[in-house]
């Protein structure tokens, strides 16, 4: 009973590390972007109404 209640993995279950490595890779890309100030450029664009984007103008 107590074993059933205990959260966690069974002996035959292994952690799938692929999503974690993949997320780490994309985290690295994100940090590179931040390091070269890409968010500043994104913010600059997002603050303006993109007329062509919405089909106006």
């Amino acid at each position: 009973m107590s074993e059933n209640r205990k959260p966690g993995r069974k002996p035959d279950q292994t952690i799938d590390k692929a999503p974690l490595w993949l997320s780490l890779f994309f985290l690295a890309l994100l940090l590179i972007g931040i390091a070269i100030d890409e968010p500043g450029r994104v913010l600059e664009q997002a603050r303006q109404i993109c007329l062509s984007c919405i089909g106006v103008g």
Binding site: G8, P19, L30, I36, R41, Q45, I49, C50, S52, G55
Partner: protein, 299 residues
Amino acid sequence: MEFVRKWVQTVAGFLMNGYWLFPWTRNIYQGPLKVLCAPGLNCYSCPAATTCCPLGALQQLLGGVRLAIASGQYFFGWYIVGAMGLMGGFLGRMICGWACPFGFCQELLHKLPSPKFEIPRGLRHLKFAILLLFVILLPLLAVDEFGLGSPWFCKYICPAGTLEAGVPLLILQPGLRETIGFLFFSKFVIMTAFIAWAVMASRPFCRVACPLGAFYALFGKVRAVRLRLDAHKCTNCNACHQVCPMGVKFNESPDDTECIACLACMHQACKFDAISLEFCGLPLTGARGKRLAATEKTG
């Protein structure tokens, strides 16, 4: 669980569209939160939008890549691709099912009474072509005399942009009405077509044309949070086919890239505990969770 999901979708929609001063300012939100990347498709020119649309931002960066390099800035979309990939690596298309405002809109539209139709499965591949062509290649390669590319998907296709930004801004800023032309009307037709289609079929834009869904679908087999089928418990009763809003036949293809992990198959269909939710291979809910809950109830 469906009730919880609807609440999460509502809250996510409000978080991404939390600027409610726009009827008075008659303009879009221009604060610092707009540096954050929305997980779902949400036009950043929407007057209420508080975050930036990952697809719009990516196209703008790719379109301006030549000018950026010329000025010594290597803006290739690292930040946006990194943010999208991070979300995709953890949740994949679960974002479509739980945090995309446009997906939520389509779900609500589908509740309207009307004849319902299935979407041909072959059309699902179109969104990958749209991602490659309209979001990446055309903004990057089709440039004007100044070396500047256009956000092709936003400009020519995106119905979310027309619905969330085009129409509201025309209402808020009457001066813009004089500038509308063929482009706006063509996008308006696309938007109307998808709205009508969404009434008659489940999530047509997500299944056929959404490039953000296509990007997240690339993580279908490697995302951290995913549904798992216990083949020993599955009786192939096909009950999961009936409830899936994305037309996934879960017992036949449990790693289907279309799965938005809405959990309808797990909670509304499967009576045999054959479907469970896992994080990096470890069970979160489902068979074990239900057993634990039952054990706790009986003491």
